[in-house]
């Protein structure tokens, strides 16, 4: 089987939220939601923790800072010091701007490529793509999918909850 065992389509964000509430209340947590825009309000319900990307970016920024200053020091102080304008070779204030830019650049690159890596993007296919009409998830439809159920009973219960939450349709994969 290719597509998820259970998938429900909603027409409004509120319906999706209702469904998630209902499922969460009954401890269905292994859910994935799909929405055309960011809905942070779902995270708490599903116990999603804040992304740790921030720390990676901090590390990246520090690395950039060190490298940028290092390059300047090595070039102007160590490798080829020159007597320029009667100023000392190691001109700390003059090295600040490029150092700052280096830090920002490295941090930004980390943030951008960090998120791609964490999300394993680009990713041109996911099982949900097999569901007919799923593509509207990026436009005006809201989906919940789930794959892990203790039993078919559980699955039917979940499907029931989704319907009652106002799902436009619920798709149950046959084994």
């Amino acid at each position: 089987m290719t597509h998820p065992r259970l998938a429900a389509e909603f027409t409004t964000a509120d319906a999706l939220q209702a469904a998630v509430d209902a499922l969460a209340r009954e401890h269905y947590r292994e859910l994935e939601t799909y929405a055309p825009f960011d809905m942070p309000e779902l995270d708490a319900k599903l116990g999603r923790r804040r992304s740790r990307l921030g720390w990676v970016v901090v590390a990246g920024g520090l690395a950039g800072l060190i490298i940028a200053y290092g390059i300047q020091w090595w070039a102007n102080v160590h490798s080829y010091p020159l007597y320029v304008g009667g100023r000392p070779a190691h001109a700390v204030p003059a090295f600040v701007p490029a150092t700052f830019e280096g830090m920002i650049l490295a941090a930004s690159l980390t943030a951008f490529f960090g998120v791609l890596i964490v999300l394993r993007l680009p990713k041109l296919w996911i099982p949900e793509d097999e569901i007919d009409g799923f593509s509207r998830a990026s436009v005006d439809r809201f989906w919940v999918t789930a794959n892990h159920f203790a039993s078919d009973l559980d699955r039917d219960r979940a499907a029931e909850l989704m319907r009652s939450a106002g799902a436009r349709r619920v798709i149950v994969a046959e084994d």
């Binding site: 964000a13 994935e32 939601t33 799909y34 929405a35 055309p36 825009f37 960011d38 809905m39 942070p40 779902l42 995270d43 599903l46 999603r48 804040r50 992304s51 990307l53 921030g54 970016v57 920024g61 390059i71 300047q72 070039a75 102007n76 490798s79 080829y80 020159l82 320029v84 304008g85 100023r87 001109a91 003059a94 090295f95 701007p97 490029a98 830019e101 280096g102 920002i104 650049l105 941090a107 930004s108 690159l109 943030a111 951008f112 998120v115 791609l116 999300l119 993007l121 680009p122 990713k123 041109l124 296919w125 996911i126 949900e128 593509s135 509207r136 998830a137 990026s138 436009v139 005006d140």
Partner: protein, 481 residues
């Protein structure tokens, strides 16, 4: 910032009128459902506006002229320009500072206002970001063009050179290289990351395989899953957080190109803030010049409401006033220094010298015109806004011209004083850069979702929620935060 964007506490107008304002101009009006909205906002991608083709070709032609002027410069040398000794920098550097200044509004809107939860930014931030990118393309061309031996521009970069000779990091020009390249990269990443969900929408709405494929590739397989949104949110906010100090640093560093010199008129410690304010000022002026036609042509009155215009106008008022203050400081500093040369340049040459007429035009335009925006009606009058935008756009070019040429042409030794006059090549480069900008911007309007669909939907949902809340107990909605 609250005081800026919420007319309620705007000292210029009393509370009740502002109250009325708010209700008359919500951030979004009579919004359709998500589907229709998406269709509306993505429509320009599928169908071309009749006038577009002609504008596109015209700007393309101008860009070719730009190329030709560059060719002349490369082939003959800088002598093809009007530059001389003492005025060794003139049009090219003026254009450079001007464009990079314009490039500041985009990041300011998208990053700065995002951090401050200025919700109204949502509908116009992508336009502004695109403007930033294309302005930076121009800005990065001029310094290279300007070199006596442009084919060696990479000597300013600390690449592993066999010569073992490195850039001199005491000079502000390598700082420029670092600042501009960083700024361009970060702006591009920020812009693209923001685009991804909308590209996904475009992919899923695209008529025909090819377009679906193309947008599909750029959408990176975005599906809008909760997990994706969770990390995406953080990354996007982080980029905004990084871009905000960056945008301040870039024009500060550009200003150091002048401030670290000892030339009267350049050698001034107020330059960094002065230039940053001027940059945002000119940037917003150009945002107006772009947003107003786009809004009109694509009937975007529902997502770009008078509220947006009102806020941009207020920002112009504020930055314009700050700029006026900078002008005063500059002059006062020169007078207070008691230095013979400073005083002559700032007080005599500027006001009565050969370029005085430009100085006075620049002062009038940049200082007086934004004062119109103390009046709410003018803040939301499309015509006034557009005209003022153009005036400031030009005024800020003049400001850079005055700072650069009017300082250089009369420096310490009267024996070396000499006037500067541009040649046709100088003019061509200026006009051509505007052509290139238009060319890129028109392409953007045609092929890229220029209103952030996903964000607008999000905002719409919040507004809907809050208005419901208002209906219950009649309190002011917090949509102006």
């Amino acid at each position: 910032m609250t005081t800026i964007s919420a007319p309620r506490s705007d000292p210029g107008s009393n509370g009740s009128r502002a109250h009325a304002q708010l209700e008359r101009y919500p951030i979004m009006r009579e919004l359709p459902d998500d589907g229709t909205l998406t269709t509306q906002l993505l429509a320009p991608l599928w169908t071309s506006h009749p006038a577009w083709k002609w504008l596109f070709m015209a700007s393309g032609a101008l860009s070719l002229w730009f190329l030709f002027a560059m060719g002349v410069t490369f082939a003959r040398g800088i002598g093809a320009w009007g530059n001389n000794i003492p005025v060794a920098w003139a049009y090219a550097i003026t254009d450079f500072v001007w464009w990079i200044g314009i490039g500041h509004a985009g990041t300011f809107i998208s990053a700065f206002l995002l951090l401050l939860h200025q919700r109204w930014r949502a509908s116009i931030n992508r336009l502004a970001e695109a403007m930033t990118l294309f302005a930076l393309v121009n800005a990065s061309l001029f310094p290279i063009l300007h070199l006596g031996r442009p084919w060696f521009f990479y000597w300013l970069v600390p690449y592993p050179a066999t010569m073992g000779v490195w850039p001199n990091f005491k000079s502000s020009l390598p700082w420029d290289v670092a600042a501009i390249s960083t700024y361009f990269t970060v702006s591009l990443l920020f812009w693209y990351l923001g685009l991804v969900p909308d590209l996904a929408a475009a992919r899923d709405r695209a008529p025909g395989r090819t377009r679906r494929r193309v947008y599909g590739v750029f959408a990176l397989g975005w599906h809008g899953s909760g997990t994706e949104w969770r990390h995406y949110r953080v990354a996007y906010t982080l980029l905004a957080g990084l871009a905000t100090p960056l945008v301040v640093s870039v024009h500060s560093i550009v200003s150091l190109d002048f401030a670290i010199a000892q030339l009267p008129g350049w050698h001034s410690t107020i330059f960094p803030p002065y230039f940053v304010v001027g940059a945002i000022y000119s940037g917003f002026a150009m945002v107006l010049m772009l947003v107003l036609p786009v809004r009109h042509v694509f009937r975007l009155h529902n997502v770009i409401t008078r509220r947006h215009l009102d806020h941009i106008a207020l920002l112009l008022l504020v930055t314009g006033s700050l700029l006026a203050y900078s002008y005063l400081c500059e002059a006062f500093g020169a007078w207070y220094s008691g230095d013979l040369f400073e005083r002559y340049t700032m007080l005599t040459a500027r006001t009565r010298g050969p370029y005085a007429v430009f100085f006075w035009i620049m002062t009038a335009v940049n200082v007086l015109t934004p004062q119109l925006f103390w009046w709410t009606r003018l803040r939301t009058n499309v015509v006034v806004l557009f005209v003022v935008g153009v005036m400031i756009w030009i005024g800020m070019w003049l400001e850079r011209f005055v700072i650069i040429v009017a300082s250089l042409n009369r420096d310490f030794l009267p024996s070396s004083w000499h006037l500067y006059a541009p040649t046709w090549v100088d003019w061509s480069l200026l006009a051509g850069s505007i052509g290139l900008f238009s060319f890129l911007f028109l392409a953007f309007l045609r092929w890229v979702p220029f209103v952030p669909v996903s964000e607008v939907k999000r905002e719409q949902r919040e507004i809907a929620f809050e208005s419901a809340y208002v209906d219950r107990d009649g309190a002011m909605p917090e949509v102006t935060r």
